[in-house]
């Protein structure tokens, strides 16, 4: 299929705003926080200029922002917000309520570390704190992927067989405020790809009143959570199929949508990472290969649901994994490293895993540093 594209120079936050604009959400409620602010500034401007026919609800906090989105989502309309860091923490109660309530709200999280010390730079501690909240989480490597992933998120989350919220994650500043080139489809093509949100699993209907959030006994409660586990499992297939449909229509892809392998199929060392470190790793892999070192890479694009099968398949064929985390579970290790080790163990794959933590609070992780870490890992 041949589609019309226009390439523009824009920041990663602009790319997220364009995806939201093209998806035509009916309700947006948001509260500004660095480095997310420009996403909702753009959207409020689109609404003001009449480019976007949405209800833009101005609220006094992030907690209220998500609460307003929840109400809107319950009424069966497409809903969008965005946040970062302390703002995401302030939303916490409603983040879990949204996930466990199966409300398909799309909320880019512009990753920024958590205080103290006061710091506006990126790491993944904020979104990782919500890995168990029942949200789909996809980590992006550049501005283009922010647009593509945010657009795909609407189609994935709003499917009736999924009904889960999505958190496209983008590294604060490194993506959010850096200008780069983004290929945009026409608004019509983009909207046609995701279609209207026409079949919600829950819809407030004043002619047919229901109680929401009522007391739920253990039997029903555990059934609901088990449904959520199953929906997450289904979401894996949905992410792959939506990603494939996107590729056929727009000609861009990121591995299979769950993981993005890079380099040779088999290597002495595989570098596994998330976000822009994954992009920087591609540069490191090429340079290591030029030096005669046998290294490849696997970027985990989808962290929730966790792509167990893909990681296991890749690890099985390879000799050693170096997992780079940009966050920590204090008292244990980096979250990605922990989970990679867990799925290998569960599947009886004995490929050794080395876990390291890099880039906290915006600490720079240049490809030279990744090359050094890879060389060190090859030795041991």
């Amino acid at each position: 299929m041949v589609v019309k594209h226009e390439t523009k120079t824009m920041t990663g936050n602009d790319a997220a705003s364009y995806a939201a604009l093209y998806a035509k959400p009916e309700v947006i409620a948001a509260y500004p926080i660095t480095p997310q602010t420009t996403i909702v500034e753009n959207l409020s401007r689109y609404v003001d200029e009449g480019k976007l026919d949405a209800e833009f609800i101005i609220v006094e906090s992030e907690h209220s922002a998500l609460a307003a989105c929840m109400g809107a989502a319950w009424s069966g309309v497409r809903t969008f917000t965005a946040t970062s860091s302390q703002g995401l923490l302030y939303m916490a109660e409603n983040v879990f309520w949204t996930g466990y309530g199966r409300l398909p709200i799309i909320m880019p999280v512009v990753n920024r570390c958590l205080a103290p010390g006061w710091n506006i730079w990126p790491d993944f501690q904020d979104s990782m704190a919500f890995r168990d909240a029942g949200w789909i989480q996809m980590y992006t490597k550049n501005n283009q992927e922010v647009f593509d992933t945010t657009l795909q998120a609407f189609k994935i989350s709003e499917s009736k067989d999924i009904a889960l919220p999505s958190m496209p994650c983008l590294d604060g500043f490194i993506i959010s405020h850096t200008s780069g080139q983004v290929q945009l489809p026409t608004p019509e093509d983009a909207y046609e790809f995701i279609g209207p949100y026409s079949d919600p699993i829950i819809e407030i209907d004043v002619d047919n009143p229901w109680a929401f959030g009522a007391m739920t006994g253990p039997e029903q409660y555990s059934k609901n959570r088990k449904d959520l586990i199953v929906a997450m499992e289904r979401a894996k297939k949905k992410i792959v199929s939506v990603h494939k449909e996107f590729e056929e229509r727009f000609g861009r892809s990121y591995g299979n949508g769950l993981v993005e392998p890079y380099g040779d199929d088999v290597a002495d060392l595989t570098i596994v990472s998330l976000g822009t470190i994954g992009d920087e790793t591609h540069e490191a892999v090429d340079r290591l290969n030029e030096e005669g070192l046998n290294v490849n890479a696997l970027r985990v694009r989808t962290f929730r649901p966790f792509p167990e099968e893909d990681i296991v398949e890749f690890a099985k064929e390879n000799h050693k994994l170096l997992v780079i985390d940009r966050s920590a579970s204090f008292g244990h290790a980096g979250q990605l490293g922990i989970e990679v080790e867990a799925v290998l163990k569960r599947n009886k794959v004995d490929t050794p895993v080395i876990g390291i933590i890099r880039g906290l609070g915006g600490e720079d992780v240049p490809y030279t540093k990744i090359m050094d870490d890879a060389k060190e890992s090859l030795k041991g």
Binding site: T9, T11, P35, S179, H282, Y367
Partner: protein, 199 residues
């Protein structure tokens, strides 16, 4: 990050070109970098403009970085070993480690004359009195002389990474019909007045 090839050769060899910019908060440096990235896009290049955020405020030194490549850019770090340096305020020159700037690169400075610290260095310097040009055109906001568009004209003259036409197109696109003419005029005048000298 290698420093051994000049701009034309780097583009021919598909090598990345990296630039450091230093300006004062309020003078439009971040906007300028973004417009330059867009101009490079019109040139058919992949380009990145990275503003360095932190405790930036009016009058403080603000760094930004640019990358240009014929291939998609996969590097996201700040620029440590630039080919060129763009200095929007000559008094901030000492904030840049000139030794890390490619010796065959160009240092573009908002000044009439080669700064004392670079005299006899053998470095290629592009000089223009951007502050005067901007003042003459009335490009002043809240007491700050906006030298960003003016210095882009000098950058284009000094480095030839993008053409003047593509720069003007990017400026026009950013500022729109009403505000573009003055900004385009600033870039054009700087382009004409920039002198490239060996210090």
């Amino acid at each position: 990050m290698s420093n051994e090839k000049n701009t034309a050769e780097r583009i021919r060899l598909d090598l990345m070109i990296e630039v450091i910019q230093i300006s004062r908060g309020g003078s439009g440096g971040v906007t300028g970098a973004k417009i330059l990235a867009e101009a490079a896009m019109y040139e058919g290049l992949d380009a990145q403009a990275i503003p360095k955020y932190g405790s930036e405020r009016r009058g403080a030194a603000v760094e930004a970085y640019l990358r240009f490549d014929t291939k998609p850019i996969r590097v996201h770090s700040p620029v440590y070993y630039p080919q060129h340096a763009l200095v929007l305020d000559a008094s901030l020159l000492d904030r840049i480690d000139v030794d890390k700037v490619d010796k065959d690169g160009v240092i573009i400075i908002n000044s009439n004359e080669v700064p004392e610290s670079l005299k006899g260095s053998g470095r290629t310097i592009a000089l223009v009195d951007a502050s005067r040009i901007s003042r003459e055109l009335g490009l002043i906001l809240s007491g700050f002389t906006l030298v960003n568009m003016t210095m882009l004209g000098a950058f284009v003259k000094g480095t030839e990474i993008v053409s003047l036409d593509n720069l003007l197109k990017a400026i026009e696109n950013y500022w729109g019909e009403k505000r573009a003419p003055k900004n385009m005029e600033a870039a054009k005048r700087a382009y004409e007045e920039t002198k490239v000298v060996i210090a």
